[in-house]
Each structure stands twice: as structure tokens, then as C-alpha cells.
Amino acid sequence: MLLLFTLPFAVWALVFCYAPIWGWLMAFQDYHPGKGIFGSKWVGFKHFSAFFGDRMFTVLLRNTMAISFLNIILGTVGALTLALLLNEVRSLVFKRTVQTVSYLPHFISYVVVANLFLTMLAPSGGLVNRILTGLGVVERPIFFFAEPHLFWALIASINLWKEVGWGAIIYIAAMSAVDPELYDAANVDGAGRLRKMWHVTLPCIRPTIVVLLILSASGLMDAGFDPSYLLGNPLVYEFSEVIDTYVYRMGLGRAMYSFATAVGLFRLVVALTILYIVNRIANRLGEEGIL
């Protein structure tokens, strides 16, 4: 009977997640809005060929995977580190304050965040450059968002600042489930804080880390639309353009709906493949996967 509670969500998933899947057919057509899917001409893999032959193909793939990879690594390590440190804090008030402050940026719109960092890192009058030049660290202001090779690091750092607190919540919750007797036993053995972290805390939350990593791995082809769209510019285009922004520009900017669908479908296939591979690796390493 209680399973009936899942019915609305199942309907929601069916209607909004699975039903639109049939729109993938557009990738194999020259889609015309007026003719609809069943009236548009079938062209097979024409758009996939066009995408694979596009000079932007390798650029998009590289940028997407690089930014995602950095986000995953920094995000996981950062969240884990914050969780471990907070777990060691005894003062409840301090712990909760830090936790709250750290996850508040998660709720700030990326538009606000982008403008915040554009202003802070501006070459003329930006706070960071004023500090750097004032301290004599640099002679001339650094134009951060005009340096192509800095773009990935900037995006990853901004995402880390924005999401580390939110990401740490799950790890903190997992850590709170660790049996305190294990810590007592470690104390008896003379283990210090770091040893306890390494030998007790981390092994106990390893399944959680693995599951989250596997889920993150499926997002390796999802670098996010907002950072690249809001912080990218012509100077860093070769490093900022990702699949999401390319699909947006081509699909909605140039009304090349079929081409954009083909690009999106390609991304999905690659993401599923990566998810499967990572899950198999996790199984081989003795961890429980999610598939």
C-alpha cells in the first residue's frame, strides 16, 4: 500500500524523464518544427558524421572531460577534507556554523557567482589584483579570464568554493554513522587524530565514497552549462566551450535542432559507457556498484 506513494513520482519520471526520450529520433533526421518527428526527413547518421568531422569535436570533448574531471577530483577531495576536519571539531556551535556557511554558496545562482568573480578578478580595480600588485607579488594585474590556460583551474576553483559545503554533507552524515567503539579501540592502540582518520573514518565511509564517485563518473561528460556560458569569452573559447554550450549555441542559436540532438545523444552514450566501466572497476575492487 505504501508503495502507492511512489506512484506520482513514477509518473513524473515517466512523463518528464523517459517520455521525452523519443525526441532522440531528431538526431537521425533533418528535423522541421512544423513537420514534427514523423514528418521530418530521415538522414541516418548524417549529423553524427558532421559532428565527428567538425573541428570543434576534439575541442569540446577535451574541454568537457577536463573540466568535469577537475570538478570531480577537487570536489571529492575538497568535500572529503572538509568533512574530515569538521568531524574532528568538538564544538557543536562552531561545527554547525562552519557547515552552514560552507554550503550557503550552493544556493546562490551561478549568474551572481559569475559576476562576483568577474568583478573580484578584474584586471583593473579587481580586489585580487589590487592585493597582488599592492603586495608586490605581481608587477602588472593578471587578466585571469583572458588566460586560456587558467580557465579550467578557475572554473574548478569556483565550483569547489560553491559546492564543497554541500558535498561535505553526505560525507559528514556517513561519518556520523561510524561506530564510536572503533574510535575507542583506536585510542587504546594509541592512534592520533590523523591515524584515526586514515584507519577508521575513511575505511568506514569507503562505500559512500565509491558510490558517489561512480555517480560522479557518469557526470564526466557534464561540465555544466552555467560556468562556461557565463565565464567564457572569445579569448578563452578554445578552452571554455563545452558540449552543453555548443548544443545551446547550435540548437537554439542557429536552429540546428537535429545536429544539437545528435551531439547531446553522443554525450549520453559516452557517459553511460563511462558509468558502466567505472561500475565494473568498482565491482572488481570488491566494492558494491550501483548497477
Binding site: 506513494f5 506512484l7 573541428r55 584586471p123 569569452n233 572569445p234 542559436g253 536552429a255 535542432y257
Partner: protein
């Protein structure tokens, strides 16, 4: 008992959630009582009870009607509630227009509408390619029958031009917006130009820059002697600004740059704009300015809002582009604050341009206009309204509040008066003061709310007009505040200088404008990929660290676009041009 109560509670909650989910998926049709019942025909609904009032054209007694309109200009100021011109039209026609303005990128918004099938009753589309997409999708209705039955004024004004509007299937799907009537005297006004802050110019004795070298000297001087100003700032992170910059540079180089991205060369060919050597020369010049620190670094990434903010703070000496979008806001603020300087625009020629400048293209094509969509509930009423708009007196009253008593009185935008025995319409002092002191004046009055639905009166004289353009109004010094008068006097410019200026830099683009590439063609895909690539590459080239890097980078860029197939697109465009010439 408890279990039964729990079960029923669960069922109720589940049903409520289900209902919520389903209702979210329901396509809600807006209720609109303004349209009466009608019968379906091939072209749409034929109308309702008020069709029989057609002969009187007295619409003030008709039922209220409201139409939603998409206006394809991000700078359009939507009229505030109660704007006098809007109310004036409502009193006479009982029609209200609910106007939506795109945030910035018009193409994207239109393509989203196309994909999502979410569009209003009327769409104003400047790009004929996108217009054709809407036609092909079946989202817009043919207007032939409506014009035939309810558009006598439209037919009288457009005449044979109506045939030019027919598509391949023989139907008319759009009516042109703000076009100039055949036979009208056309006034050309410069838009794209080079703008400079007059405080520095005054300090230097009012030099008048005329060439790229003159600008270079000025910028160098500003950098050395006026550190409080950025010599030049641009908004290259904003693609619409970038496009207006290209038009300005093309004008300076004497390049005939058409809207669709091709240049009409002297040997009567159409080439992709960045392949033109003269435009390359302009980019080379910009690169030099950048390398020498005469263009600020932020130009490469900033948007128009940031540039406007800097200009309003008077921290920028110069910029390039559309003078209205760039400097109107800043000048209005300077006027309000009583500052002794303004931004002024100049027409510049490149050092290598031995001919005339070509800043203002004009055409007698009617490729852009407004389309009526299949969501229009009362196309008959709308066409009757448009037909009403094709009457001269009605255009006048839909664009301004007119004082027919000949008084230049408060609260009136224009007034009718006698000028050398001719009845003319003149701009009122009230309007002039409003534009100078209030950057939201257009919205408060309701300017531009209706004019795109008909032909343009602005800057034209036609034998059929009831009131002629005032010759005195050609003297636009009435629009200048005292500071602007002082500045323009220093340059010896009278209020009518713009008339000859427009003639000197205008060029007729009729033969080459609006050559539409089929959106389903391979060539369209080619140019769709090349355009964003070009934009990004040109901005990067402007920031090239050395002259050699610029040249080699530009050569690489040209090679890359050849590899991407630009020649194929050029061949198609030239073929279309040849076909047009043969017809």
C-alpha cells in the same frame, strides 16, 4: 479501523499528488473573451460580429481586443501602463498590444519559440531566414485573404509591392515594418560611428578626427596626458556590439557590407566579410591600438552594460559602434547632472580609404516585417487594426499625441503648424525636453508601440502625406541641450548637418540585401559554424601580442574558414545574386 483510515488517507494523498502531476502537464489555453465565435477557413478564423462594421472604420465602439506581440529589438522600451499614446490608440480602436522584448540575442529567442512552439499572436522578424522557418513550420498564417477582404488601405499603399512579398507557394506571410513608401524622400541618418568624450577634445582645442591616424594621435595623447580616462573601450564580449563595430569599421573603410555577412565588392561579387582585405586592415589597426595599451584589456571580454556603465561614469574617452546604444544613456545622465561634456560621434575614414565612407546602407526590399501566427484568435480584427494603421492620420496618432491647434503645448509630442504656406508637423518642446532629461521617456509616452505595423513616417516626405515634414525640424539643434549646442558650434555644425552627412555616407543595398540561404542547405550549416568561430577568432586576433602574430593568425583563420567550406557558401550566395539580377 485504524488501518482502514490510514489506507484511505494514503489513497487521498496519492490521488492529490497524481492530480498535481497531471495538471502540470496540461496545455493550458489562455482564455480570451475578446474574440467572438468564428468559423474556420483555409486562412483562419473569418471573424465575428464586428466584421459588419468594416465600412465605418469607427472602431471605438467595438469590443476590446488584445494581441501579444514579439518585438525583435532588445532596445525597444515597452510602454508603461497608461502611456498617453497607447491610451489614445485604445480609445480609437479598443486594441491593446502586449509587447514582449527579447533580452539580448534575438535569434536565440526566435529559435526557442520555433522549437518550443511557444509564440505570441504576432512576431516581428528581421531575419528573412528565420521568417522562412516559421513559414515552413506552418506556425504563421497566409495573409492574402485577410488583406484582400480587410486591407484596402494596405493594398492602396503597397500596391505592386505586395507581389514582392509572395513566397514560393504564392502566399504572403508578412507585411513589411517601418519601410519607406516608394516615392518618398528618404532621409538617412548615421548610426554606426566613432564616439568621443568632448572634455578632452575641448581641452585640446576641438580637433576634429577624420582618419584612423587622427584617432591614433588622440588616443596616444589621452594615454599620456589624461590618465583619468581609458583611451578606448569596447564591448567585444557582446556579439551584437561586435557586429555594430564591424559595420562601423566597414563604413570607415568604404566597404559595402550587407546585413547577411557578405561584402559587395567593386567587381560585383559577394565575398565573406572577413576575407575583405580592407576589413583586415581595420582589425590590424585595432590590434595596434590594443598592443599599445590604447584599448583597455577588459574590452575583450566585457559586455555592453559594463561599457555603458563606464561611459556614464565618464571614464572612457572613446568607443566605436552604434551611437544611440553607446552614448545616449551617458549623455542623458550628463545632462541631468549638468556636466560640461558629452559624447559626440564622428564619421571617420580609414587612412587607406581613398573613396567615400559607407556607413548607412538603405534598401527598398521588404524582407523583414511582422508575421501573424496560428495562435492569433482574431486575425480579422488584427488585420482591420493594421489596415487602420495604414491611414496617414492614424499613424500620426499612434506615434504621438498631436496638437492640431498649432500650439507648442505641454503634454503634446508634436503639433501641426503652418510653414511657408504648407501644413507641417513639428516636434514639441515637451518632447525634446523629455528625450534630453529622461532616459525612460519613450516608455512613458508609448513611443514605438505601433509603428512597426505600418510604413514609416520618420524622416520621410511623401506627396500623399497630410502634413509634411517640417524643414525647421530638419534642424535638429532643437534636440540639443545647451551643452551640445556649445560643442557642435565649436565644430561649426549646424542642426541640418546630418542631412548631407547621411547622403555622403549612404549606399543603396537593394541589389544585394536579403539573399536568403535555405536553412536546410549544407551551406547554411557551413555559415552557422563559421560565424561563431569567426567572432571568437577576430576578437583573439585583435588581442594578438605582436603584429606578426596578428598577420599569421589572420592567415591561419582564413585557411581554416576555407577548410570549413566558406567558398561553398560564397558560391551559393553569388548564384542567388545572379538569379536576382536576371529577374
Amino acid at each position: 479501523m485504524k488501518r482502514l483510515w490510514l489506507r484511505s488517507k494514503v489513497i487521498v494523498i496519492v490521488l492529490a499528488l497524481l492530480a498535481l502531476t497531471v495538471s502540470a502537464c496540461t496545455d493550458k489555453e489562455p482564455t480570451d473573451d475578446s474574440a467572438g465565435s468564428g468559423e474556420q477557413t483555409e486562412t483562419g478564423k473569418t471573424g465575428n460580429a464586428h466584421a459588419s462594421d468594416k465600412s465605418t472604420w469607427e472602431m471605438s465602439a467595438w469590443p476590446d481586443a488584445e494581441f501579444t506581440v514579439f518585438h525583435s529589438s532588445p532596445s525597444h522600451q515597452v510602454a508603461v501602463k497608461g502611456a498617453p499614446i497607447v491610451e489614445q490608440v485604445y480609445e480609437r480602436t479598443k486594441v491593446r498590444l502586449n509587447i514582449e522584448v527579447p533580452p539580448s540575442n534575438i535569434e536565440e529567442k526566435l529559435n526557442i519559440m520555433l522549437a518550443g512552439q511557444e509564440y505570441p499572436d504576432v512576431i516581428l522578424i528581421y531575419d528573412p531566414v528565420i521568417g522562412q522557418r516559421f513559414v515552413d513550420a506552418g506556425y504563421v498564417i497566409p495573409l492574402d485573404d485577410l488583406i484582400g477582404k480587410y486591407g484596402d488601405q494596405i493594398q492602396a499603399r503597397l500596391g505592386d509591392t505586395l507581389d514582392q512579398l509572395r513566397r514560393q507557394d504564392g502566399h504572403i506571410y508578412h507585411l513589411p515594418s517601418s519601410y519607406v513608401l516608394p516615392g518618398a524622400d528618404r532621409m538617412l541618418e548615421v548610426a554606426e560611428s566613432f564616439q568621443m568624450l568632448t572634455s578632452v577634445l575641448e581641452d585640446k582645442g576641438w580637433p576634429k578626427p577624420e582618419t584612423y591616424s587622427d584617432i591614433y594621435q588622440l588616443l596616444t595623447d589621452v594615454k599620456q596626458n589624461y590618465p583619468e580616462y581609458v583611451p578606448m573601450s569596447l564591448a567585444l564580449g557582446d556579439e551584437p556590439f561586435f557586429n555594430s563595430l564591424i559595420v562601423s569599421l566597414a563604413g570607415a573603410e568604404g566597404v559595402r557590407l550587407a546585413e547577411n555577412g557578405y561584402v559587395w565588392t567593386e567587381d560585383d561579387r559577394l565575398v565573406y566579410r572577413y576575407k575583405d582585405e580592407r576589413l583586415r586592415n581595420s582589425f590590424r589597426w585595432l590590434n595596434r591600438l590594443y598592443r599599445e595599451g590604447l584599448i583597455d584589456q577588459e574590452s575583450l571580454v566585457q559586455n555592453r552594460d559594463s561599457l555603458n556603465a563606464k561611459m556614464s561614469a565618464a571614464t572612457v574617452f572613446s568607443t566605436i559602434g552604434h551611437w544611440y546604444f553607446n552614448m545616449y544613456e551617458a549623455n542623458t545622465l550628463f545632462n541631468q547632472e549638468g556636466e560640461p561634456y558629452r559624447y559626440k560621434y564622428f564619421i571617420i575614414k580609414s587612412d587607406t580609404n581613398g573613396g567615400r565612407a559607407t556607413y548607412v546602407p538603405y534598401a527598398n526590399n521588404y524582407d523583414y516585417g511582422f508575421y501573424v501566427t496560428d495562435k492569433m484568435r482574431d486575425p480579422v480584427r488584427f488585420m482591420q487594426f493594421v489596415n487602420w494603421m495604414y491611414v496617414y492620420d492614424n499613424i500620426l496618432s499612434s506615434s504621438s499625441v498631436v496638437n492640431f491647434d498649432g500650439e507648442d503645448a505641454e503634454g503634446y509630442d508634436v503639433y501641426v503648424t503652418d510653414e511657408n504656406g504648407v501644413q507641417v508637423v513639428r516636434n514639441s518642446t515637451y518632447q525634446i525636453n523629455g528625450w534630453q532629461t529622461d532616459e525612460a521617456f519613450a516608455a512613458k509616452r508609448g513611443y514605438g508601440n505601433f509603428e512597426y505595423l505600418t510604413y514609416s513616417l520618420g524622416g520621410t516626405n511623401h506627396p500623399s502625406y497630410t502634413y509634411k515634414l517640417s524643414m525647421q525640424d530638419q534642424d535638429i539643434s532643437v534636440w540639443w541641450d545647451e551643452e551640445q549646442k556649445r560643442i557642435n558650434a565649436a565644430y561649426g555644425e549646424s542642426g541640418t548637418y546630418w542631412v548631407q552627412e547621411g547622403i555622403d555616407v549612404g549606399w543603396d543595398s537593394t541589389d544585394v540585401s536579403g539573399l536568403t540561404v535555405d536553412p536546410d542547405s549544407e551551406e547554411y550549416g557551413i555559415i552557422a559554424r563559421i560565424q561563431p568561430y569567426s567572432y571568437n577568432e577576430i576578437v583573439k586576433l585583435i588581442a594578438a601580442p605582436t603584429a606578426e602574430a596578428f598577420e599569421s593568425g589572420y592567415d591561419d583563420f582564413l585557411r581554416n574558414i576555407e577548410d570549413m567550406g566558406i567558398s561553398k557558401w560564397e558560391n551559393l550566395v553569388n548564384r542567388l545574386y545572379e538569379e536576382r539580377k536576371q529577374h
